[in-house]
């Protein structure tokens, strides 16, 4: 079905970001656009929805009317993106979604890691390390975002099932450093028997939490007695460095590099009219059907001191 190679004129690709004030999103936007260019497509400037689902719908319509032939979308919300996907489909513009799966609607491919699974992995690493009991501070992201909710649900469900004796102290932080830091400070100083902290984003929370522990005199190295176990999500370069320094126990690294790489790959393929089938891939993942769509379910890696220097982690790739 490749009678018309689309490279007669280069393929224009639009990238819609949900917001850019989170470093994770910012890096993903940059890396994806780079991968798009590497794949020989023409990247239009990314759009920034500033966390507003309505704005994202606007952005995508604008990208399409500006001539985008294919879209990579990182949705602000799995539901609110549905009519936008329908609109794109009606204009014959294929879409690849990364990081978040849509609730419905047609897309060429979904590239994501399982955020509930990420929460679960953090829970398992953490639960085992503290011996299934104690008090855990859970610094939640913005619960109005799908990822924030999934990381909460995955963590809480796993805790309930596997470590029912653990007490969870939940604090909403809205992906805001100052809120996370203040909540951590209050809880750390008022809970002498705190055993662990779960952070839903190391790019937003880790620096502040380490600082809180330090000023409270509770910052100890991994393995020392009374060490407060720290688990984070994202796996930013900073987090990997702190793991190497024995200050952070576990980071569940998102496959950000793979999001970028395969987002671009599938986008190009979709623009060229290719279709995909379910089954294992060449990159250690599996394409699974979800509803009418296919999803390349990328693995999230649990990073500890043992593998913190692994060059395949995205956090080890940004430095050049």
């Amino acid at each position: 079905a490749m009678l018309m190679p689309a490279n007669a004129e280069s393929i224009k690709l639009g990238y819609s970001a949900p917001f850019l004030t989170d470093p994770f999103q910012a890096i993903m936007a940059n890396q994806t656009l780079k991968a798009v260019k590497d794949a020989g497509m023409e990247a239009m400037p990314a759009t920034n929805a500033n966390g507003d689902a309505g704005k994202q719908a606007t952005d995508i319509r604008n990208l399409i009317s500006a001539g985008a032939k294919v879209l990579i979308v990182n949705p602000t919300d799995s539901q609110a993106i549905v009519p936008v996907l329908e609109f794109a489909a009606s204009k014959n513009v294929p879409t690849v979604l990364i990081d978040i799966a849509p609730a419905k609607g047609k897309s060429a491919m979904i590239v994501r890691a399982d955020n509930k699974g990420i929460g679960g992995k953090a829970c398992e690493a953490l639960g085992a390390a503290i011996g299934g009991k104690g008090k855990v501070l859970s610094l939640m992201g913005d619960q109005a975002t799908t990822n924030g909710r999934d990381r909460t649900t995955g963590f809480n469900e796993c805790m309930k099932a596997k470590y029912p004796d653990v007490t969870i102290i939940e604090q909403p932080t809205y992906w805001k450093t100052d809120k996370a830091t203040s909540a951590a400070q209050t809880v750390v100083t008022t809970t002498p028997d705190l055993t662990a902290i779960y952070m839903q984003s190391d790019s937003v929370m880790l620096a502040g939490v380490l600082n809180v522990l330090k000023s409270a005199g509770k910052l100890t190295k991994v393995g020392e007695p009374n060490h407060i176990f720290l688990a984070t999500v994202d796996g930013t370069p900073y987090a990997l460095e702190k793991i190497r320094e024995d200050l952070l126990d576990v980071a569940v690294a998102q496959p950000l590099d793979l999001y970028a790489k395969f987002g671009a790959f599938y986008a190009k393929a979709a623009a060229e009219g290719k279709t995909f089938t379910a089954g294992p891939t060449d990159h250690n993942s599996e394409i699974v059907p979800v509803g009418d769509n296919l999803m390349d379910y990328l693995p999230a890696t649990v990073v500890t001191k043992a593998n913190a220097s692994d060059p395949s982690l995205w956090g080890n790739q940004t430095e050049k």
């Binding site: 500033n50 966390g51 689902a53 719908a57 606007t58 009317s65 799995s78 539901q79 609110a80 924030g148």
Partner: protein, 338 residues
């Protein structure tokens, strides 16, 4: 009085000159808008395509309804920051009532789509009533009252659904935000008709004139027999009602209600109203001016998306152009509105 002297008076009177009339505050933005359009057509060949222009209008429709709401309230000499949270909470509450599946965040009640629309508007009405009573009866400061209300309503929106997005809403509920009438999105028609209606009302109906009088000098308005409290209350209610309608349209457009719906919109509502000439001190400005403000922001947003400006710098450009528009409207010979 004879007609003769009338004519004489009309000639002799040193009134506002024709020149001054042409420099109406409301027209100040027109050249700016023209420049943006010209730039837009250079930036992207698709800019002037009818489809894109309809995009702009549709995308601006919710903002513009909020701008009408805020303009009424500002002209009346008050503020309503909570409009943005009404955009979220009114459809959220209705959606919660409509969804019968508790597991996806619904209430389990499952009211119909039409009842849902009624709930949206009723919620708006109630919020407006509460704001209005606090401001009019308790004589609380409107700015700070509605700021507290904003925080409260945002919190309730989050609380109702634990942050979940509500979807699978009835067709009827989504209709207005989706439908096209005569090939043009319904929301454009609605926004347009509202502009026409409120534009005429504020200019030619005595309630409109009364709102200007209240905003200009509430005590004088009271003395002139204008029921200041009743009208102010009415304006708050109308404002929230319009905000809930905007929320309904937005919900139709994204086929779901997100708990962050409306967030940060209030900044742009103020920006559009004020560069459109609505004074923050009350009693001044016109609905048509506010319309030019909305159009400018909508065009800008569109042109910036189509342009080659990097995403990270788009917000900065946006801010810079708003500031510029303010300076231009100021330098174009307007008396400052303190």
């Amino acid at each position: 009085m004879t007609n003769i002297s009338l004519e004489k008076a009309a000639i002799a009177r040193p009134g506002q000159s024709l020149f001054a009339r042409f420099r109406l505050r409301e027209l100040v933005l027109i050249p700016v808008i023209a420049v943006v359009i010209v730039i837009g057509s250079f930036v992207s060949s698709s800019f002037l395509m009818p489809e894109n222009l309809l995009n702009i209008l549709q995308q601006s429709s919710e903002l513009s309804i909020l701008v009408i709401a805020q303009s009424l309230i500002l002209i009346c000499g008050k503020f309503d920051l909570s409009l943005e949270s009404t955009v979220g909470i009114a459809p959220m509450f209705a959606a919660w009532l409509m969804i019968s599946d508790v597991s996806i965040g619904g209430s389990g009640i499952g009211i119909s789509g039409y009842a849902g629309i009624a709930v949206v508007l009723a919620t708006g009405l109630l919020i407006g009533l509460i704001n209005g009573l606090l401001v009019v009866k308790l004589r609380l400061n409107a700015f700070i009252t509605t700021l507290a209300m904003l925080i409260l309503l945002r919190g309730i929106t989050l609380g109702i659904t634990n942050g979940q997005t509500l979807f699978d809403l009835p067709e009827e509920f989504l209709y207005l935000g989706n439908a096209k009438w005569l090939g043009i999105p319904a929301s454009i028609w609605i926004a347009g008709l509202l502009f026409l209606f409120f534009g005429l009302m504020m200019r030619y109906h005595r309630i409109g004139r009364a709102i200007y009088a209240i905003g200009g000098n509430p005590e004088a308005a009271r003395v002139a027999g204008i029921p200041v409290e009743r009208i102010t209350l009415g304006v708050f209610i109308m404002g929230s009602l319009l905000a809930s309608l905007a929320g309904l349209l937005l919900t139709g457009r994204i086929a779901s209600v997100v708990s962050s719906q409306g967030q940060n919109m209030i900044f742009y509502v103020f920006a559009a109203s004020v560069i459109g000439g609505i004074s923050l001190n009350g009693g001044q400005g016109r609905i048509i001016g506010a319309l030019t403000g909305v159009l400018l922001l909508g065009l800008l947003q569109n042109v910036l998306t189509l342009s080659q400006v990097a995403a990270f710098w788009i917000d900065a450009c946006y801010g810079a152009i708003i500031l510029l528009a303010l300076i231009i409207t100021r330098l174009s010979g307007e008396t400052p509105r303190a």
